[in-house]
């Protein structure tokens, strides 16, 4: 037996300790991913020992790895409280809750606790605060986003029918709309001196014959006075397009007959109808009606807002007039864009020769003065251009500062007459002498002198037009006459002050005059 003195033992321990200092490797090799670990068995680089499991995991933790305070998840991952595991943001249909959020563009649907698109797509669940995408509706019974019903589909208050359809009372199924149009179409009551040729004169007017309203007491009288005003002041118009002509349609029609407009197509359904009417001095050869169906928002969906079409034959030339009244509120632009699509497709569905003039007229609810972006989007959506506005009649068709029947102080240019300029539909061109002008119909009625006849002003237009396709055959117009007067010597226009958009060396220079205000 060998005996060691305490001094020897102490020296041996010191020697061993100093060796450890010289060779500072762990007593065990570093533990790898998923291997057991402890204070004495530390994890390798980029890993850390999870205290509850005693195994090595990435630092920070990756998806599916355990997490807790001090052992956090990598960027973009969340430590789920129930499983204490790192989770990536949920995809569509993945479970979700407070500590398991959904990915970009998704949100957690209360109740089912699963991730769905924002806004919800067709077939996804919906409820208040979790709305459906544009063009879909939240079916209040199933709480699922659905497309508007097709013909024969079931329908109810929160599952409305698509364009051209209406929910039939009783069967609660989507059925084609029967607009109950009153039609009188084959007469020619124009005067002998009426201007023929390539000219169309028209008036578009929102009549404000509506219930309820603060001024509804004046409705019966205004229904009489408006046609009277047209008789006195609008005898030169070929066509008149009314919107909000919901109430007293028969009275208006009688008055318009007396005013010289012997042809008409109007919707007599009053407040649940479209409020649209078109009157013409020239024979109406064809007419049609197409509603916006479920593509209507807010209070407007209580009515049956729509497009009313007539094809007029004036002196052997056909004119295609689409009268409409789109959704009213400023914040319903997206709904109106859907309605523009319906108008566009409706136009496309008609048989239109390329040398025939196509116009859209009515209360389109885009403010040309204050919402120019939206106004121009509208033009783009319906393939149209506007007709130059003669501002001697003012700039606004709704003028709360001036019109006694207007319910707010707003001043807006909402009523328009547009020329459909898509070359695939019509190659007609508007000649420079064309113009539109806001007109302020007033009359003495109900003890008021010079009182406004509607909360809107009318827009009256004289459209002189030509057709590029008919030029070769036409004796009235030649290419020279159509384009010649407009031709500009571009080299004479100084460009020093112009803003350049594009490459200065570009071969084709286009000059644009614009108003910055």
């Amino acid at each position: 037996m060998v005996l060691f003195s305490s001094r020897t033992v102490i020296l041996s321990l010191l020697t061993l300790f100093s060796m450890l200092l010289w060779f500072p490797q762990p007593l065990h090799a570093a533990q790898g991913y998923g291997q057991g670990c402890s204070v004495f068995k530390p994890c390798g680089d980029g890993l850390s020992c999870h205290p509850l499991i005693q195994k090595c995991f990435h630092k920070p933790r990756l998806e599916g790895e355990p997490c807790m305070a001090g052992f956090v998840c990598a960027e973009g991952l969340t430590c789920e409280a129930t499983s204490l595991e790192c989770r990536a943001p949920g995809k569509v249909g993945d479970p979700c809750h407070a500590t398991r959020p959904c990915g970009d563009g998704l949100s957690c649907q209360p109740g089912v606790q699963k991730c769905y698109h924002v806004p919800r797509q067709n077939g996804e669940p919906c409820c208040v605060g979790y709305e459906c995408a544009l063009g879909l509706q939240c079916d209040g019974m199933a709480l699922i986003c659905r497309e508007p019903g097709k013909e024969g589909d079931p329908c109810h208050l929160t599952r409305q029918c698509g364009p051209g359809l209406k929910c039939a009372v009783g069967s609660n199924q989507c059925r084609p709309v029967k607009p109950d149009l009153v039609v009188k179409i084959n007469m020619d009551c124009s005067s002998q001196s009426a201007k023929l040729g390539h000219t169309l004169s028209m008036l578009a007017y929102n009549l404000f014959l509506i219930f309820p309203s603060k001024h509804m007491g004046s409705n019966p009288r205004r229904a009489i006075e408006i046609p009277k005003w047209i008789k006195q002041n609008g005898s030169h118009y070929d066509v008149v397009i009314f919107s909000e002509a919901w109430l007293h349609p028969g009275t208006v029609a009688s008055g318009m007959g007396l005013a010289g407009f012997c042809n008409h197509v109007y919707d007599k359904r009053e407040m649940n109808g479209s409020g649209l009417a078109i009157y013409s001095k020239y024979p109406i050869e064809d007419f049609d009606f197409f509603n916006f169906g479920a593509y209507s928002a807010g209070a407007d969906s209580l009515a049956d807002k729509a497009v009313l079409y007539v094809r007029i034959n004036k002196g052997g030339r056909r004119y295609h007039v689409f009268g409409t009244h789109t959704n009213a509120e400023v914040d319903q632009f997206e709904t109106r864009v859907l309605q523009y699509g319906i108008i566009r497709n409706f136009i496309k569905s008609k048989v239109i020769a390329k040398d025939e003039l196509v116009v859209i007229a009515g209360d389109l609810n885009e403010d040309r003065v204050h919402q120019t972006d939206k106004y121009e989007t509208m033009l783009n959506e319906v393939w149209a251009e506007d007709i130059p506005l003669d501002t001697s009649g003012g700039q606004y068709s709704y003028d709360g500062k001036e019109n006694i029947l207007a319910s707010s102080d707003d001043r807006e240019a909402l009523d328009h007459v547009l020329h459909v300029a898509d070359p695939d539909i019509s190659t007609t061109v508007i000649l420079p002498e064309s113009s539109c002008k806001y007109i302020k119909p007033k009359a003495n009625y109900l003890d008021f002198i010079n009182r406004d006849l509607s909360d809107h002003y009318a827009i009256g237009c004289t459209i002189n037009w030509g057709s590029l396709t008919s030029i070769a055959d036409s004796k009235i117009f030649t290419q020279e006459r159509l384009i010649g007067p407009n031709k500009i010597h571009v080299t004479k226009i100084p460009l020093d002050d112009a803003l350049l958009l594009g490459d200065q060396k570009a071969r084709s220079r286009v000059i644009v005059f614009t108003n910055p205000d």
């Binding site: 251009e385 501002t391 420079p432 350049l500 958009l501 570009a506 286009v510 644009v512 614009t514």
Partner: protein, 107 residues
């Protein structure tokens, strides 16, 4: 709006450039001053701000360019905006969508 259409066209057609001239409409009380601010700075950004109804800085130069534009517009019979004058001198009134304007510009 037409500005977006023009931007699309210069992306599609490198051989096309737009020269934008200011034509302040009568009845638009601030249009004249805004036009001058834009011309003085020669700034597309300011024009964009104006379209967005943002306030523009006061003109920082004296310029007759706007008056001359108005005179020129009168000579050319221009009364409304936008007006587009194509490379061959054809004058177009009003907004045109991208497809239509490219077709009209031609090759």
């Amino acid at each position: 709006m037409l500005h977006q259409v023009m931007k699309k066209i210069i992306e599609m057609r490198k051989d096309v450039a737009f020269y934008i001239k200011m034509f302040p409409l009568k009845g638009h009380s601030e249009a004249d001053e805004k036009s001058k601010s834009i011309v003085c700075e020669k700034s597309l950004a300011l024009l964009k701000d104006a379209f967005k109804k943002k306030a523009l800085p006061k003109p920082n130069c004296e310029t007759l360019a706007i008056d001359e534009n108005m005179k020129l517009a009168q000579e050319l019979g221009i009364t409304s905006v936008p007006i587009i004058i194509l490379p061959d001198g054809r004058l177009l009134t009003g907004y045109k969508d991208t497809k239509t304007l490219i077709n009209l510009i031609g090759n």
